[in-house]
Subunit: 220 residues, 2 copies
DNA sequence: TCAGCGCCGGGAAAATTTCACGAGCGTGGC
DNA sequence: GCCACGCTCGTGAAATTTTCCCGGCGCTGA
């Protein structure tokens, strides 16, 4: 009763992590890893080439982030399924990822079965969210806290992420293929929406909300 | 053989902490707490009024910070002895405090006897440094890492601290009694010295070096 | 005494931030 | 269909900030 194998693409900038995915997934019958990418741009290119049934995507990667990659892939193929698998135990990222078109969001701290389970859910059209993220979402909802992710549009959040990653206005502009002037406008708009007056407050807000974590500081 | 009692002033913005100091110190014969202040400005004022033999000073306080307070006190009385007692287990702060004229630097995680011991050392003219800070200093020295504290002058470091505390240029200017223009000049100079191009990089550098900690984010 | 350095700030050029405005474009309701 | 709405992107000009260069002042060590 094995149908034709489902194809999967892995996207993560650490080869060892991709190896981990692979070893976990190949224990499942009916799954086949057909492509691997180490950054968002490569993921987009390889998706167009191989058209897998499912993409498993990390978020923090060099160049364009995972969320932007999801948006591009979904723009090219509206039926694309992308499952986010990331270290970020943060509701803000989950909201943005789902909004960008992700089919699920699983944190790397989840038990191994959770990924496999989420893969199956995603393949069958369901949306899978990690319990810890569910909890975060519920909490922030109950607290009535207006998270950055709720105030910002997808584009704005993307720019915020790149700003926090110490990228210059021009770098962001060329990465997103828009004018530096637009990035400056978004930068200003973001600060306005979040109610902060300076970049310093912006970083601190991002830290409080977990958009930027202490760990990110040592990464590129 | 008890000489005349040595007078001490306590400076900490939390009353309960001052109470702790007091209870520890009064077990020592020959010591007498003659004044208490809850911020840097009050400390300066009370020092001029009471002229204690030793000041025990916290660093993170509202208004002007502890380091600025040390500078002012030492400017008024070159022979003033100030012992820093703080939560900051960070070499950068120790370097700056000593540079500002502190007679010692003890962290709040140190065992109770350490404070008493440091008080005695300070009173007898010795400079007392916590073992953990000694270790930090040794480490960063061995690593050859150029810490922010080594590159910046006392004034620059002070301004950096206040910038990171989300204070505006004008607020800093009036707190330090200098022109906003000078603050802007210092801000620019700091970024230049630390080799960062934006405020965002500045905050991230400060976080990496422990000048700003995650904990500070929720405090005023 | 004098050179060096930190500190303070003015002035002007350069860069950035902000604001106002408008054109596409996709989405959802009628 | 068709309209209204919000998001995106961009321009241009004004307002503000950042940066650079300058000189004066006070302290310190040779």
């Amino acid at each position: 009763m094995i149908a034709s194998a489902r194809t999967i693409m892995l996207v993560d900038d650490h080869a060892v992590v991709r190896e981990g995915y692979r070893s976990m997934l190949q224990k499942q019958p009916g799954l086949c890893v057909v492509a691997e990418a180490s950054d968002g741009a490569e993921a987009y290119r390889l998706y167009k080439e191989t058209g897998p049934d499912l993409v498993i995507m990390d978020l923090s990667m060099p160049g364009i982030g995972g969320i932007e990659a999801i948006r591009r892939i979904r723009q090219w193929d509206k039926r694309a399924k992308v499952l986010v698998f990331t270290m970020h135990q943060n509701a803000a990222f989950a909201v943005q990822a789902i909004r960008a078109g992700a089919s699920g969001y699983v944190t790397k701290t989840s038990p191994p079965e959770a990924l496999v389970h989420a893969v199956m859910d995603a393949l069958s059209g369901k949306i899978a969210i990690s319990p810890d993220i569910d909890h975060e979402l519920a909490l922030s909802h109950l607290a009535g806290e207006t998270a950055a992710a709720d105030l910002l549009t997808a584009r704005e959040f993307e720019v915020l992420r790149m700003l926090l990653a110490e990228r210059t206005t021009d770098e962001i502009a060329s990465a997103l293929h828009i004018s530096p002037k637009t990035v400056a406008n978004l930068h200003s708009l973001i600060k306005d929406k979040l109610g902060v007056g300076s970049d310093i407050e912006l970083v601190r807000l991002a830290l409080r909300q977990g958009i930027l974590t202490q760990i990110d500081l040592s990464e590129p």
